[in-house]
C-alpha cells in the first residue's frame, strides 16, 4: 500500500521523547521544507502509538482516541512549518497540539456553551482565524437606569425606599420617623419593589 515507506510498527521505539528530540526536529524540518514522506513516517511511527495511549487515557473511548490521533498527526503534517525547534522540543509541540484538540473535542462533546477555544488559550498553530461574527448584545439594564426608574416611584414609596436602602434604616425606624404604622412601611416597601420590578420587566 505504501511503497517504500515502512511504518516500523513492528519494532517499537523505546526511547524517551527527549532522547530523540534532535532527530525528530530534523524530520519535522524536512517535512516542512520538502514534504518528505519518509520523514513523516518516522515521526508518525514514533508519536502515533504514544498519542493513542494518551488519548485513550484522556477520552476512554477507542474511536474518539483514534480521531484525536488522526487530527493531531494531520496537523503535524500540514503545519510542520510552524514548528520552531528554538522554542521547544518536538514532543512538547506535538503534545500541545493533541492537548488543544482534546480541549476542543471535549467542549464539543460536553456541549459547553462558553465561547472559548484552544486557540485563545494556547496559540500554537494560530494562523489567525479570527471569527468576525458580530454578536448582537442584549440591552442591559444599568444601575443608572434603576436610578431613573426609582425617581418615577410615588413620593411616599420613594421616601420609604430611600430611608431603608440608602440611609440603611430598619423598617421600624422608618415607621417611627414618619409616624406611620410598621405595617404601612412594609406594604409601601413591598409595593415599591413590585413596581420597580414591573418597570424593569417592561424595560426588558
Amino acid at each position: 500500500m505504501l511503497i517504500g515507506i515502512p511504518l516500523e510498527n513492528n519494532k517499537p521505539d523505546v526511547r524517551k521523547p527527549k532522547d530523540c528530540a534532535a532527530e525528530m526536529s530534523a524530520y519535522l524540518d524536512s517535512v516542512a521544507k520538502t514534504r518528505c514522506k519518509a520523514s513523516f513516517a518516522k515521526i508518525f511511527g514514533y508519536f502515533a502509538p504514544r498519542l493513542r495511549s494518551y488519548a485513550l487515557k484522556q477520552m476512554g473511548n477507542e474511536a474518539i482516541a483514534m480521531e484525536l490521533v488522526q487530527d493531531t498527526m494531520s496537523n503535524v503534517w500540514q503545519k510542520a512549518h510552524l514548528f520552531n525547534s528554538e522554542k521547544g522540543s518536538p514532543s512538547t509541540w506535538i503534545f500541545t497540539i493533541a492537548r488543544n484538540i482534546r480541549f476542543d473535542m471535549l467542549r464539543k462533546l460536553q456541549n459547553r456553551k462558553e465561547d472559548v477555544c484552544s486557540d485563545d488559550l494556547w496559540p500554537i498553530l494560530c494562523e489567525q482565524t479570527a471569527d468576525p461574527k458580530e454578536t448582537s448584545l442584549e440591552e442591559k439594564i444599568t444601575l443608572e437606569q434603576v436610578g431613573e426608574l426609582f425617581n418615577e416611584l410615588p413620593l411616599k414609596q420613594k421616601a420609604v425606599i430611600e430611608a431603608i436602602y440608602i440611609d440603611g434604616k430598619s423598617q421600624q425606624e422608618v415607621a417611627d420617623e414618619l409616624c406611620i404604622p410598621l405595617g404601612t412601611v412594609k406594604s409601601r416597601t413591598r409595593l415599591a419593589l413590585q413596581r420597580l420590578k414591573d418597570m424593569l420587566a417592561t424595560h426588558d
Binding site: R50, S89, E114, Y165
Partner: protein, 221 residues
Amino acid sequence: MIKFHPTNEQLSQFADGLLGATEALMVSAHCDMCERCMAKVELYTDASAEIALPQSQDDDSVDFGSMMHNIMQEEPEEGIQLTPKSQIIELDGRTFEIPRTLTRYTKSMGNWSRLVGKLWQAPVDIGGETVANFIYMEKGGSVPEHTHRGSEMTLVINGEFSDGIADYDSGDFMIMDCNNQHTPSTNADEGCLVFSIVDKPLHFTSGWARLINPFSHLFFK
C-alpha cells in the same frame, strides 16, 4: 508588581488543558501579563509532554497504516503565525492594552455604560452560564460592598485598586467566593480597568446598593 498569581495547581492544570473554560481564559490572560507564570506553564507543559507520551502499550491490533497514508494525501497549509500580542482599547480618552488572550472578545464587546458613580462597565459575550465584563473605576470610584453567591474571577488589566482585604496592581489575578466580602475602590490617578467573570450575581451587602439585590438576576442577564 504582580502579587496575586494563580496557584501552581491551576497553572499545571492549565498546561494540561484540564481547567474549565472560563478559568483557563483568566489564567491564560494572566500569563500574557506575567512572565513568571508563563515560564511555569512552559515547564509544566514540557514535563507533561514527557509524561503523557511515554512508550506506548504494545497493541499490534491497531493499524495506523491507512491513517498515515490518508494524512499524507492532505495538502499542506502555507499559513504563517500571526498571533496578535495584544490590543489597544480606548475609554474616556485613555488607552488600555488588552492581553492577547482577550483580544478576540474585545471585538464583541458591548458599549461602555456608567453603572453608578465613577464605575463603568462593558459586557463581553463569552456565552455559557457566566457573565464577563470589563469594569473601569475612575479615580475615587468604588463598587458597593458585596459578597458573592458563586465565584468572581478578576484580572487587573491596568491600574491599581484596593478592596479592604488587599491592594491589587496590573496583572493581579484573584478568585472571590461567598467567603469574601469586599468593597473595591481605587485612588489611582489613571483609575483601574479590570476584567471580571462571575457565575452568579453579586450580592450587595450594604447601603443603597442593596436595592439592587432583588433585581440582581436582571443585571446578571
